[in-house]
Point group: C3
Chain length 267, copies 3
Amino acid sequence: MKGVMLRICPYAHLVDITHEIPPQNVPAAASMLQTFPAYFPPGTIHVVVVDPGVGSERRAVALETPQARFVGPDNGVFAPLWQAAQRSWPAHDLHAVALTAPRFWLPQVSATFHGRDIFAPVAAHLAQGVALAELGPALTTITTLPTADPLWEDATRLVGQVIAIDHFGNCITNITTTHLEQLGAPADLLVHLTEAEARNDGAALAPHASHPHTVQIYHTYADVVPGAALALVGSTGHLEIAVRNGNAHEVLHIQERSTIVVQTRQH
Amino acid sequence: MKGVMLRICPYAHLVDITHEIPPQNVPAAASMLQTFPAYFPPGTIHVVVVDPGVGSERRAVALETPQARFVGPDNGVFAPLWQAAQRSWPAHDLHAVALTAPRFWLPQVSATFHGRDIFAPVAAHLAQGVALAELGPALTTITTLPTADPLWEDATRLVGQVIAIDHFGNCITNITTTHLEQLGAPADLLVHLTEAEARNDGAALAPHASHPHTVQIYHTYADVVPGAALALVGSTGHLEIAVRNGNAHEVLHIQERSTIVVQTRQH
Amino acid sequence: MKGVMLRICPYAHLVDITHEIPPQNVPAAASMLQTFPAYFPPGTIHVVVVDPGVGSERRAVALETPQARFVGPDNGVFAPLWQAAQRSWPAHDLHAVALTAPRFWLPQVSATFHGRDIFAPVAAHLAQGVALAELGPALTTITTLPTADPLWEDATRLVGQVIAIDHFGNCITNITTTHLEQLGAPADLLVHLTEAEARNDGAALAPHASHPHTVQIYHTYADVVPGAALALVGSTGHLEIAVRNGNAHEVLHIQERSTIVVQTRQH
């Protein structure tokens, strides 16, 4: 992909944001994708290749907001950021097109890697100054995702899930600052953990009665002693479960899609 | 390596192609290396550091074709691309030299990391405009590899092997489009899988009678239902074994060097 | 972090040195950090985000030597390179400041990711020409680490430990060329290995009576037969334990913090 982009746009500045989205996990990519564009230079072109439907009939799209541009599969990965954009900017500042003009693609398009054959060359042409409208017809809607939002059981209890596990073993949930503010002050909240029933490799879990099943929300890792479990709002605005100087994923047996419940403390 | 290159050539555009070649696996690197140069700008300098013989008597080389330049160990890693270049271009367009001129190296050369001490500075000097001929004497041949080609048992049966497993668990074989075309139309072919006898860690494999031992060749992942196994020609032109939305390496117990047989269907 | 830097300094050349420091391992990062700056262009700004104390009272610093600049947490990670700088250059060539001027940070600073919110923007402002002195008040000392140096039992016996395991499974120790020179010629030294008592996952180790517990120091991997264990001085000047064409970490059951003893041969 980088070679393809540099052939078209030799002075492109290429940055790898992440290669750690779990394979084929469109909701996780969609959630992560909301947090990055604000940190990049305006007009940055973000290319997304979480694309389990490659080679099928799923559409490819390019999007433009006053903040950034996006190129990738129309499989829902752009839905949350696009909905947020629609809340932030007037409709005439937002543009979406279907990628249908093959003159901006590689001459030969494989059935398995549109990242290289379609998205990369399209992004490079955008960087070279091609207008979004040249890439294909305007779209009025893009594909949405079944909601990945957490579920309110009642006004005091929110049921979310782990959407990603980072390099440190921190378990990032789909519960954000906005949700927590509706529940109350962090000191008034409890976070209940549900451990995975078995590891990926099918091995039985060691007994671990000593591990906490309920943790509190702190400001930062260093607010607890080394080895202790905690919840905190991470740098992307998502509630995460962590172990200070440790690996929450391993120690607490939490996995992707594990349930995490936040509840107002009973007084 | 990047620091060394930027000291010599401050405006070099550095791209990491892959860090996922299995350690010391020269044939896998050689096979992968054939597929990338066509996607990069002409004249790109590709540095290869799959170098199990570092510090021994193995030669270091730089190569030039009308498409690209290459710097690395003369251990066979360049053999397939060089043979392909010899089929594509006249001899006077191809140049190979041994790296023998220490003025293009770091002042101190370690016995264990020629990537940093020899290949990186040589590549940066090439990028700065140094001519290939200045790096050392011309070579008429470079080191070849014992063939990594698949074996024809007869005209209807080809025995290959897995040469790499990618980030998604897809198992990439040494069987290419060219081989498949000699066997017949994809719909007429069957792909037999041989699972590994034991995992790397020595653990016994779980029984898995339900897993297919023969799969068909499809056009893309989305042609089968999620969880199903398939074979397909991947984006580098190699036959690969995959599981839609899954990890073929784990699910099918296929590993590097596992045997994969493609056979014409009996009519 | 890269987006933040490019907003401030659009032409910054960004290089990832390593993402393989074990989480929260400040001594390992400190040891590695000594070896890189000499290979980069003078004035390069090195940003370090091994920062287990993020969000606590730990100070943030920027340092400048005639060779390079550094930005990161004042948790000891810079101590060895700063002590070496003090041995190499006069005091008036070395500058250290505490990062206290929020105008060089992001407007909102999270409690968990100062890499993005403080270190990255500070580094980019330095690259844009901001003087070190503008970032905050001068420091006369920075935080030191409990020594990570190996221990001399007597003049013939040095007890060190593994500080990192690389991509190939080579086990890198805190014993350097300088220590070895004090012990004697490599051919006169023996290296005793202590294997880990259990693997990270708690599984029992397979018996392995055939594995060597004492190895010799060689010049390079290719000095022994494939599969054999050896010690050698790696490309960063640290003694490492390796297996030719193999993975010493797995084969020899050596882990981070495993004890490695170098001893003069009895004559």
